[in-house]
C-alpha cells in the first residue's frame, strides 16, 4: 500500500501546517482533556504522551490524599493559584470531584505532596495548551 504524506502525522514529517482557524477549538479541547488539542491538530503521539503524563501526575496526587478546593479571595494568593492550577487540568478535575476525591485527608503524611502533584498537573496543562496555540498559528512545529 502506497503511503502518502497526507496520512502521516505532522510530527513524523518534521513539520506542521499552520491552521489558525483551528487554534480556538484546539485550545478548548486541550483545556478540557490534557493532550486533546495536540490530537486535534494531528500530533497524536505528543497528545497521548501529555495525556498519560498529566493524568498520571494528577492521579498520583489524588492517591496522596490531595484536597481539591478552590480558595476564593485574595487573602491567600498561593491557595488561589493552587486551586486554579488544580482546575486547569480540565475534565479529570471534574471526574475526580464527581467520584468523591475532593475532600482529601489533611492528616495524611502525603497531603502536601498531593497538593503539589495535582496543582502542577493543571499548571503544566496550561503550558501544553499554549503549545497547541503556537502549533496552530505556525510558530512551532
Amino acid at each position: 500500500m502506497q503511503t502518502t504524506s497526507s496520512n502521516t502525522e505532522p510530527e513524523q514529517q518534521g513539520q506542521s501546517i499552520p491552521r489558525p482557524a483551528a487554534a480556538l477549538p484546539a485550545c478548548v479541547i486541550g483545556s478540557l482533556v490534557p493532550g486533546g488539542g495536540h490530537v486535534f491538530l494531528g500530533a497524536r503521539q505528543r497528545g497521548a504522551f501529555f495525556f498519560l503524563a498529566l493524568s498520571g501526575l494528577f492521579g498520583l496526587g489524588l492517591s496522596m490524599d490531595a484536597r481539591l478546593a478552590l480558595h476564593a479571595g485574595l487573602d491567600d494568593p498561593l491557595a488561589l493559584v493552587i486551586g486554579v492550577g488544580q482546575m486547569a487540568i480540565g475534565l479529570p478535575y471534574l471526574v475526580a470531584r464527581a467520584l468523591g476525591f475532593a475532600a482529601g485527608d489533611i492528616r495524611s503524611a502525603t497531603f502536601d505532596y498531593g497538593i503539589a502533584f495535582t496543582s502542577t498537573a493543571g499548571l503544566l496543562n496550561v503550558l501544553v495548551v499554549l503549545d497547541v496555540i503556537d502549533i496552530a498559528l505556525g510558530r512551532k512545529t
Partner: protein, 58 residues
Amino acid sequence: MIRSHLLNLLSYSALVAAVFAVLLRREPRSRLRFGAMVFGAFVLSALLAGWLMAQVRG
C-alpha cells in the same frame, strides 16, 4: 499509595521533566538530554535544600 518521600520526589521530577522536555525540545536526542538535565536539577536541588534545612535545624 506512595509513602516514600524519595519516591515521591523521583516520580514528580521524572514526570515534570518529561513534560518540559517534550514541550521545549523537538529532537529526540535533545529531549533526552534536556529531560535528564531537568530531572537531575530537580532531584539535586531538593536534596541540597533538605540537607541545608537539616543543618539549620541541628
